[in-house]
Assembly symmetry: none
Homo-oligomer: 204 residues x 4
DNA sequence: TATGAATGAGAATTCATTCAT
DNA sequence: AATGAATGAATTCTCATTCAT
């Protein structure tokens, strides 16, 4: 039983991985279910053993990528380092993901679009909404710690700042998608410096 | 002849407007050409008198919206005001557009997605790329003027900063789309303050 | 009034001519009514002043070409020449028309097809039927005269022979259409000779 | 695997047969793909599993009929019989096919038309061209054998005669299509006799 | 459990025809 | 009489999904 479940889970993940690659390359609309099953080395019908529809598979890819990125970001958050350094690291790490996994990251564009017009628009919407909420919380907490520990100006609104930090990192991915010459890591670094230069008490 | 051309242009624009509304409401995939023609009060075939395909009409909407937004942004750029104020105004104006025209802004999500998998992906890509290039230039010029006039720190890289500013405004729209409670105008204001606090020489 | 009628007739014929050329080049299915109106230098609506439908125009072309060919064939039939020579001339003339007006002649293929599946199939059928009837009559009369005048074997069935003569000339056009290297005039000459002279040695 | 291939081939042939019947009855233009699928007792989509388009299916019908007719004609060609008798048999057999399978023969009219204006015009053209070439060769060989064996006049051009013989049989089908009262078998017999025996009295 | 042949709902698109000017 | 913008009926083809094996 546990063997079977493992197998099942294993094949399910194989399908999610295959789907991620094919969707990333061709986009949701141009991807046929058979493209994915072929890429995964299984029959077309098998996909429907694990997912009830193409959109559900797409949603599974969304959740998987969402988690992959989050765990990578969370890994670099460290409470024992100056808040400024943590923020800078988060910026750089995100920029690195954007640059290294350009194709995968570009799927965001379609996840967003799926929040309108897809049969799963509510689930995609909710997924994005909670994801942004989490990131804002994560960021706000870093900012607040910096303020508590006297690193950052206490008069700034941590929540509002967080909205913009998350925005900036998100938008960076968009620009990089459209223009390969955009230097995400460089821009993220400059952003960290400029923002902290304004945020940090000791530099004044 | 000029009458006819005018008429033609007139009806073309009516169709672009109708399409923008329907696409904004339903998304590209869920919108049938007949939905648009009905909304415009014309027959289905008429759409094809002006646009050779559904995607071409979509692209026309893209260009139209791109121009609408740009002209609105350019209108608030003023060279005789302190750079800091111009930047703040640009932020606020963008945030206002995002908030007031939520539906229209949401089309961005689909324009972006169309850069992957649409038959016109190259045209959408090129359109977005040039748009971002323009906005970065616009922003960088404000920053550079601020540096020349002694308002802003001269050691920061204007081009890199511009990338992030454009990113932040773009990403702001995304978050607002997913979460109506996000206060775009407030966040933009906080961003302006934080960023300028770091940028501005006289505050140090 | 007579002026108007003349005008009307004139423009009608211009349309038939234009249609013949365009249909000959593109075939019925691929030809749009606007292709014809443009070729004739008039507006699309004008075609409908003279013909109630595309198929009716096609039928008019059919009748026109039918008459053109018939009058050319009839012109060479001469009752004061030996039947053998008349037959030979009819063969050669037909072969010449086939060769010189290859494109126009190839429209036969579509007239034939129109006798099945076109809305006018009955009219096309009847038109072809009567045309073949006429040609058979024309040919049979020549053969009969030849028999009366002692030129031809009296024991042969003139009607049956006529069927085949008409067949042969018709089929010649088909082969020439598909293979430009087929020498219609040469084949027609050989046919005349073989038919008149007989193939078999031992029967002489 | 061979089972599957066989199955596949089997259903493909079922579709070709169904298509032949429906096309023969209604003509290409008036036939909807769903008419064929219904006639074959399968779903509309199934047709597209075996043929990429309506025109490709039509072409498959063309090739099938071409082969069917050829094998029937080749079956009656016999090298050990006097050439005259072989020719007579070929004529009669063709006339019989024309008479018995009037509907199927009528497809020729559309195959011909498809050589002008169809998306596959080149393939239809090439198919017809090679078919005529084959038939001319077949006929010419019979004539040449007759000449070698002293049955036929040696001074006639076998190639040219062949063109006309093929023409005559083709044209016979056309006339029979338009006029059921035309006696194809009788005409073919008279043709054989006249051709072999010669029409002209004075040359005997 | 895995498969892929079969299915048919659904949409884009074409173009003959109409009719207001 | 002449026009061509507007129309929508009609049809092909796609592809997600089902289900018998």
């Amino acid at each position: 039983m546990s063997q079977a479940t493992l197998e099942h889970t294993g094949k399910r993940q194989i399908l999610v991985n295959a789907a991620a690659e094919v969707f990333a390359r061709q986009g949701f609309a141009k991807t046929r279910v058979s493209d994915i099953s072929q890429h995964a080395g299984v029959g077309k019908g098998t996909v429907y053993e694990y997912f009830s529809s193409k959109e559900e598979l797409f949603f599974a890819v969304f959740e998987w990528i969402k988690n992959e990125i989050r765990s990578r970001v969370e890994a670099v958050v460290n409470d024992h380092t100056p808040a400024r350094d943590v923020l800078t690291t988060v910026f750089r790490t995100t920029a690195e993901i954007i640059t290294e996994h350009r194709e995968i990251f570009s799927m965001n564009l379609e996840f967003w679009a799926a929040s309108r017009g897809s049969a799963f628009e509510d689930r995609f919407s909710a997924g994005c909404q909670s994801m942004y909420h989490e990131y804002r919380e994560l960021t706000a907490e870093i900012v607040r710690r910096g303020q508590r520990e006297g690193e950052f100006r206490p008069d700034l609104d941590a929540d509002r700042i967080s909205v913009v930090i998350v925005s900036a990192l998100d938008g960076l991915g968009v620009q990089c998608w459209f223009d390969e010459t955009v230097d995400a890591v460089g821009a993220a670094g400059a952003f960290a410096e400029a923002l902290c230069g304004g945020l940090c008490v000791e530099e004044r």
